[in-house]
């Protein structure tokens, strides 16, 4: 059960201009993703020496950053909300 070795160690990951679309969004992600853990203040981004993970998804005009801090184990969502709305208090 041996696979042919299709891959090579030097495969480019991310920023693949031949397959990549929306590079501006990638740039915004890098700019806006939370940089520090809200619980322990450790850096989150690998590029800044952190040990966290931040995945961004969109919901409507909001941008949600799903965060995990490898330093303290905290995880949670941080939302960049385009609009904050409330509703009437329940009677």
């Amino acid at each position: 059960m041996t696979a042919g070795s299709v891959g090579s160690p030097g495969v480019a990951v991310g920023g693949d201009v031949h397959r990549g679309w929306f590079p501006a969004d990638a740039e915004r992600h890098r700019r806006d993703a939370p940089r520090y853990c809200p619980a322990c203040a450790a850096a989150l981004a690998l590029a800044e020496g952190g040990q966290g993970l931040i995945t961004e998804y969109w919901t409507g005009r909001d941008r949600v950053f799903v965060c995990f801090c490898g330093a303290c184990g905290w995880s949670g969502d941080i939302v960049l909300a385009a609009r904050v709305t409330g509703h009437e208090a329940a009677e």
Partner: protein, 446 residues
């Protein structure tokens, strides 16, 4: 969306990387049992490393790095002996623990062989597969998941895909793709290529949910016409961390296995057990394996069956999909959950802890939650599954359909028999009551 560094970390398999170290805490299938019965040594590639896997005449399995510690010739061409594996080049002999037992051209008194050992892994056989663990000692238990040890008629479809395994695993926490890739797209291709698409896959998702559990993530869904009382929500089915997905329904139980062979090659395996109630299973001296097609004769992806459609999606995402330019939505929360789980488990390993799904207490069978009534489609699912999924390429596809039909007929006959008995008992009961009433009446009259 991730940064390039995060995508790089998530998709590594090499030793010394956080992800590679995490992945080395688990057991993987590296050969079919029958392969080592046919010839006792063969090459195996796992997590970017090359190995020789072998079985001695005494029945002991072993796995050693393919390159001989002497001068790097391939041990996958080795000579299998009672005590282990001998290099074909100069005859150095290694046992299954990696100890060097013999160096024929060296003088015994130099004791050179005690200074040279191979970094051996641990190997076990289970369910027609040979499993290897190549991580740090002590090896955890090989998980005896239900499909690998349960009764039934089994077979294994497989192929090698030119992409990283994480994008395949992300598909396992993406319920919505089912109604499109296996629903609308299937119908579209069926219309143009002239075949029938099964209606059960196209049902609209009303709701999806994910729960972390002991072995990974349970995926749940409510499809149109069903409710939270149905199996798809109440039970769901699990992503078995880090590289399996358990699926099933209508007496077909399956583990979808995605072995990270190297960073951009994944061995995709469909380990299937057909276990219909109401029929005796024929004996299987060995588990049949068969290669499933990925491409057609013109080099296009073959998309006329369920897994062919999945493979098209996974492979066309690229060898390592570029997550710096993806756009996840709310429907992708399962994907974000899985990535967080990978990262969390990398952290556990870096702290010296066992990650999720590594266990050390023996259990004879680990039952995984898995829905029985799939997509609220009842018994037709079994035949759809064989006709329109990878099982159609199994050498025993026709026999399997007959098995399911026979079991269905037997169950029906049994149910009808019970109904008849009930009916008769009811009639008899009524007759008895009448008789008794009559007797009582007579007695009363008397």
């Amino acid at each position: 969306m991730l940064t390039a560094e995060q995508n790089d970390e998530l998709t590594q398999v090499a030793a010394g990387t956080p992800m590679g170290e995490l992945l080395r805490r688990y057991w993987y299938p590296v050969a079919f049992t029958r392969e080592l019965e046919e010839f006792p040594v063969r090459p195996a590639r796992l997590l970017g490393e090359d190995f020789a896997v072998f079985k001695t005449p005494r029945g002991r399995y072993g796995i050693l790095p393919e390159a001989c510690p002497h001068r790097r010739a391939s041990l996958a061409y080795g000579v299998v002996e009672a005590d282990g594996l001998r290099c074909p080049y100069h005859g150095w002999l290694f046992d299954a623990d990696g100890s060097c037992l013999d160096q024929p051209a060296e003088r015994e008194e130099t004791n050179f062989r005690s200074r040279v050992s191979a970094r051996a892994g641990v190997v076990q056989e289970m369910g027609g597969l040979v499993w290897a663990y190549i991580g740090p000692a002590p090896a955890p238990r090989l998980p005896r998941f239900d499909v690998f040890v349960m009764d039934g008629v089994r077979d294994i479809g497989w192929t090698d895909l030119p992409c990283n395994f994480v994008q395949i695993m992300e598909n396992a926490v993406d319920p919505h793709h089912t109604e499109w890739l296996h629903g609308r797209f299937f119908e579209f291709m069926a219309r143009h290529q002239g075949f029938d698409a099964p209606p059960s896959f196209g049902k609209k998702h009303i709701k999806v949910g994910f729960d972390v559990f002991e072995w990974g993530i349970i995926k749940r869904r409510v499809v149109e016409g069903a409710s939270e009382e149905d199996d798809d929500w109440k039970i769901g089915h699990p992503l078995v961390f880090p590289y399996n997905m358990r699926v099933g329904g209508a007496n077909i139980e399956q583990m979808q296995i995605r072995v990270p062979v190297d960073r951009t090659t994944t061995r995709f395996m469909l380990y299937t057990v057909h276990a219909p109630v109401g029929v005796e299973y024929p004996p299987q001296p060995s588990v049949p394996d068969y290669q499933i097609p990925v491409y057609d004769s013109s080099g296009r992806h073959r998309v006329d069956y369920v897994e062919g459609q999945d493979m098209m999606a996974w492979v066309t995402q690229g060898p390592i999909t570029d997550r710096t330019v993806e756009h996840l939505g709310r429907s992708d929360i399962g994907v974000t959950m899985l990535r967080r789980m990978f990262k969390e488990q990398m952290s556990r390993v870096s702290r010296g802890e066992d990650p999720l799904g590594v266990y050390r207490d023996y259990r004879s069978q680990i039952d995984l939650p898995c829905e029985k009534n799939k997509f609220d489609s009842g018994a037709t699912f079994a035949i759809d599954f064989i006709d329109r999924a990878s099982s159609r390429f199994s050498p025993q596809a026709d026999a399997l359909k007959k098995l399911h039909i026979k079991a269905h007929e037997n169950r029906k006959a049994h149910e009808n028999g019970k109904a008849d008995e009930k009916g008769k008992a009811h009639e008899n009961g009524k007759a008895d009551e009448k008789g008794k009433a009559h007797e009582n009446g007579k007695a009363a009259a008397g």
